[in-house]
């Protein structure tokens, strides 16, 4: 378990250096920010907005794009990077926009309450899959708040003091009921979600290899999966993956790799 804690810490501390460039002809001002992989763009808009404030002619909704693809506010930043930046180039050059908000692709997150309720909804869904929702409903409102504040303020201990309860399993359960996971296919932001148990019918622990088979189709066979910027070894057990490499929303976000 001691080693696992180190893994949790490394996952928590993952950062992506980003260079924000304003989408305007008449200035070449840039703003650098070290983005936490586990956080959301919805939580870093204030800083960026503040920096570019004097270039804004009229107050409008801020949004970001990379190579003309709008960046979603409510998908973890690390997932978006792994999905969109195929050459792993750093710093990640992100364009900042203050007009023409693409409402057909992005949803507005006007304040932190909206992303907080999205985050809590993800936790509820994850716990529904893992423990039929029985753990999260035992938590109090202040615990929910602590989870979000832990994420927002980058407080590992604060977050994990509550989150470890969501990650617990009993001896006889031998794992979660189902594993909360989203597998991103190589088609923009689209992902697949299914009921995946941590054990095979014979009671053996499933590995990433087994998972890839479950997400295979005759036309498309994934050969690997990436999360937090690393390619996960195929023999990694799914239950361990879920407990250790899930994002703070308690979901595993896996970018499938095809041949």
């Amino acid at each position: 378990m001691a080693n696992d804690r180190e893994v949790l810490k490394v996952v928590w501390e993952g950062k992506i250096p980003a260079k924000f460039v304003i989408d305007s002809n008449d200035n070449d001002e840039v703003y650098y920010l070290n983005l936490p992989r586990i956080s959301y763009f919805a939580l870093c808009t204030d800083k960026v907005k503040k920096h570019f404030q004097r270039h804004i002619e009229k107050e409008d909704d801020i949004w970001f794009s990379y190579m003309d693809v709008p960046l979603k506010f409510h998908i973890p930043i690390g997932v978006i990077y792994d999905l969109l930046v195929s050459d792993n180039s750093l710093p990640w050059q992100i364009n900042v926009h203050f007009n023409k908000f693409p409402e057909d692709i992005l949803f507005k997150f006007p304040n932190k309450d909206v992303i907080e309720s999205h985050f809590l909804s993800c936790l509820k869904e994850a716990d529904f899959l893992k423990h039929k929702g029985q753990v999260i409903c035992q938590l109090q409102k202040k615990d929910h708040k602590q989870l979000f504040l832990g994420l927002q303020n980058d407080k590992f201990d604060q977050f994990w003091a509550v989150n470890r309860r969501l990650m617990e399993t009993t001896e006889q359960e031998n794992g979660f009921k189902n594993l909360p996971l989203r597998c991103y296919t190589d088609d923009g932001y689209s992902y697949l979600q299914k009921l995946i148990t941590p054990l095979t019918e014979k009671g053996q622990k499933k590995t990433l290899k087994d998972l890839l088979v479950e997400f295979s189709t005759p036309a498309k066979k994934p050969v690997g999966a990436k999360t937090h910027g690393i390619e996960v070894p195929l023999e990694t057990e799914l239950q361990w993956l879920s407990e250790t490499l899930s994002y703070p929303d308690n979901f595993l976000h896996l970018c499938l790799i095809y041949e």
Binding site: S121, G133, A219, K220
Partner: protein
């Protein structure tokens, strides 16, 4: 969107899993829309829809059906527990929380669960 029952729906699902490379074949599922609390009730609860549609589409549909004002809020829930993200597709929700070609959703004009 029609209210007729999907024929051979399980066959449709099976066919998709064998030949998913042909997106031309539209898979349809039934969604059951249940009002929560004092939200206005829809006369027709069951609708047969393309499972590639997302939650924001369902939300817009209910909005229109109930003739709500554009600023009126609408909250959608699965299993009376959590609110799926607006860009979540019905297929993913059906795979996890639906059965026998049906997916049940609750809607509310005020926040209901969390």
């Amino acid at each position: 969107m029609t209210d007729e029952n999907q024929e051979n729906s399980s066959l449709g699902v099976e066919r998709l899993s064998i030949q998913p490379e042909k997106p031309a074949e539209i898979v349809k599922i039934d969604i059951l829309l249940n009002a929560v609390g004092n939200s206005p009730i829809m006369k027709q609860r069951k609708w047969t829809v393309d499972w590639m549609k997302d939650i924001s589409w369902v939300s817009k549909f209910i909005h229109k059906y109930l003739k709500l004002d554009s600023e009126d809020k609408l909250f959608l829930y699965i299993n009376q527990t959590f609110a799926p993200s607006p860009d979540q597709i019905l297929k993913n929700l059906y795979e996890c929380y639906g059965s026998q070609n049906k997916l049940s959703l609750h809607y509310s004009i005020s926040p209901a669960w969390g």
